[in-house]
Symmetry: C2
Subunit: 466 residues, 2 copies
């Protein structure tokens, strides 16, 4: 309805300064999707870059009145289409709400606006002798708001947990535009339902988060020791991962990179990794003192007993940092080869070898290239399915491999998404994982808190066929 | 309606064996309330001690059909009235569902029925080289189901978090008696809303939990070092607590006991503590090696600079254990003096000295005896208001002191309940803390997931005047 559209735009213009409101398609198109290129996206009616909570509330009030979808968006680094525009929606983009409002080492908390970049918060904390652990691979670009929306994970969560474990409180715009505070600033608190935790990972479907209070840890950490293992096969590396879990070791990182990743990084950055190994396991231990040394020894034993062709503790800090930099570069390096369909399954630790074997089988069965990066220590695997640009048949084969991997993860007792979120790409998987009764509970909660159905509609548990 | 009542009882008798169904008032009366003696409680229509999930579902189906309230109950050690019977309800008591179903150190998880006693789970984990951290003071008696319902805390949560941090998954009976599984068995997972986390701490108002999957940590811990500080005044001990937080130290325990507690324990167990100190701070550090020694030194410095009359690391393990045993005995020791109205406020760590000062002022103002136990390290204070049995005027003064302490905690940026839950006693405080918009979100979620309003009605955010 063009008339309705004009009315909405007029109402937005009344409430939002011209510089914060984008309506021409060239501009709004840049905000229409995240990095899940395979996911569909619509055309936004407008993009608003609010300067504060009041402006967000004003926009939500307009959208609630006119039944216009609201799609919140961080840096657009998501990999599931969660921030993709819905036709006729207003995208709320938080680049202008990027202030760290408080860092309080005494209370071990920080308060930030949603547009603060993860690495910027982490750097600000360091200056105050504090540490914000969640470290998704996108940390140089992704925002805390996006991290909270998707309950982002990262490298250190094998020991230190995920974003939800660090969100103490939220300010959000809900319903018809009411501003509410959920959660708390104290170390503990059980006054009522954990609505704060419910919002974390809800991918913008329950309201718009406008401020976040996160828990911090002390910044004085023991130096991390790095352990490297080379393996001939994915499955052997997976056996090492399962052995680490069976030995009761909790490393501060345990990452896996396969041959395709190493070759892609080498082709881009000339690091010479692929000449050394087929599969690389990178472990870190931050337990201080002699106990940390024992952990390193135990990790090396697990690597060796699983058949590592070479293993060692890294004595060169620069070398160790370079290896973890390679881990971070693997995804963009692979993207240079063609469109990447990113998986994010998480399986029980003991099932890691079997899951890696099934991923290899899926690649063979569907004649498609699958590279593997993994937060292996917590069973969170990222098979990356890569196709030639423009090869539609390959794309269909890739989609079938994607579906098989999701089914295999569920068959092994895993989940369809460990840390990237459901967005649009994993909706069918979510339905298969949760079943109709639990999906029904999702609809009930969504309808209760978003009775007009304006907040990021269709995402997460929406009809996958839509 | 007697006719309706007979019909309900007949339906229960059809589905529940005679030995698992109690209906005579002498028997059901023993299940009518928890340890919050000051909270009102009604008369149950029946008590069912189910032997498994199917029996729970059968009972819930009967109750849903007839609109009968369902009140789940663990060991009845709650201190807020959350498990108190509602008139005409069916109490579900889980003593017969007390099996540890799985302990899996490799996946770092355990699966238990709700009636498993906390200490029993912890002992079973130890046998498998694993550790379940949450350790409420009631751990010898309280059940995991009750711990999950209230999101219980404990001594070690200053470093290791509360029950919610350890609940991976749940089986629950919801709605009209459907059995659902929420959460997961994997280390990470973001498929949909965190409904599992929403159920934790919901005090039975959203459904009945019938199985719990908890996360474990490795059992090999470094030996804990114990640090003791004696103080002349509560406020000085509070200053020490704030100094520990400001120094960025995270002890594995930091507990406070005041003169009234020490005297009550001495009177009962003749430990001679009250001759030594007015206020006792007990700290523990479990960081291994030299770093742990540095933590101990730093703790002692904080104690001394805040004015400790004596401080030392305990070199005698038995002495250290005895001091922590005194901490656990303090509550039952005080109960011997008369009815205890238990507070559970949690304030920012820096506000601990001011809050302790205000508690002393409330005791003076209302001429009432207030003893203080505290999980001081996370700002969670338990002022215990004690009256002579049968002294109604004292009881009224105690209630006014209780209300003042809640108001003071909110004024200092705290919460009305850190770990005991809202139940019946803290409903007014919850309304004051959350405000109408957030309470409205609670009602919306409750109505969405419990459309018949049968699950523990009136608790948590119900009308405090009812």
């Amino acid at each position: 309805m063009a008339g309705g559209t004009d009315e909405v735009l007029a109402a937005l213009r009344e409430r939002v300064p011209a510089g914060a409101l984008l309506t021409d398609p060239d501009s709004t198109g840049r905000y229409a999707h995240d990095e899940a290129e395979w996911a569909p996206f619509g055309k936004p009616l407008a993009v608003v870059r609010p300067d504060g909570t009041e402006q967000v509330a004003a926009v939500v009030r307009v959208c609630a009145e006119h039944g216009v979808p609201v799609v919140p968006r961080g840096a657009g680094t998501g990999l599931s289409g969660g921030a993709n525009a819905v036709d006729g929606c207003v995208v709320l983009s938080f680049e202008a709400m990027n202030s760290v409002l408080e860092i309080n080492p005494r209370e071990q908390l920080a308060v930030v606006q949603p547009g603060v970049v993860n690495d910027d918060l982490r750097a600000a904390c360091r200056e105050h002798g504090a540490w914000y652990p969640p470290d998704p691979a996108s940390s140089p670009w992704s925002t805390i708001g996006g991290n909270v929306g998707t309950n982002a994970g990262g490298v250190c969560c094998v020991k230190y947990g995920v974003t939800r474990d660090y969100v103490l409180g939220l300010e959000a715009v809900v319903g018809d535009g009411e501003v509410v505070r959920l959660g708390r600033r104290t170390a503990k608190g059980v006054a009522g339902y954990d609505l704060c935790g419910l919002f974390v990972g809800s991918e913008g479907t329950l309201g718009v988060i406008t401020e976040i209070t996160v828990k911090l840890l002390p910044g004085q950490r023991a130096p991390e020791r790095t352990v490297v293992g080379y393996f001939d096969s994915l499955v052997e590396a997976g056996e090492a991962v399962a052995a680490v879990a069976a030995a009761g070791i909790v490393p501060s990182a345990l990452e896996l990179l396969d041959r395709h990743c190493l070759e892609a990084v080498d082709a881009w950055k000339n690091m010479g990794l692929s000449a050394e190994a087929n599969v690389l396991l990178l472990g870190r231990c931050d337990t201080p003192g002699a106990a940390g040394e024992q952990e390193v020894d135990a990790l090396l034993r697990c690597f060796d007993q699983a058949g590592a062709t070479w293993s060692a503790r890294s004595t060169d800090e620069h070398e160790a940092d370079a290896l973890f930099a390679a881990r971070r570069l693997a995804y963009p390096a692979l993207e240079r080869l063609g469109p990447v369909l990113t998986e994010d399954v998480c399986v029980p630790r003991a099932a890691v070898p079997e899951m890696l074997s099934r991923i290899e089988a899926a690649a063979r069965r569907h004649d498609t290239l699958i590279a593997n990066i993994a937060h292996a220590g917590d069973g969170n695997l990222h098979p990356l399915i890569i196709t030639e640009p423009g090869d539609d048949a390959a794309r269909e084969r890739a989609q079938r491999a994607f579906d098989d991997i999701v089914a295999d993860a569920l068959a092994l007792g895993g989940t369809v998404t460990g840390e990237h979120g459901v967005g649009l790409l994993k909706r069918a998987g979510l339905h298969a994982e949760l079943g109709p009764a639990v999906v029904g509970m999702h609809h009930a909660v969504k309808d209760a808190l978003d009775p007009r159905g304006i907040f990021n509609p269709g995402k997460v548990f929406g009809d996958p066929a839509s």
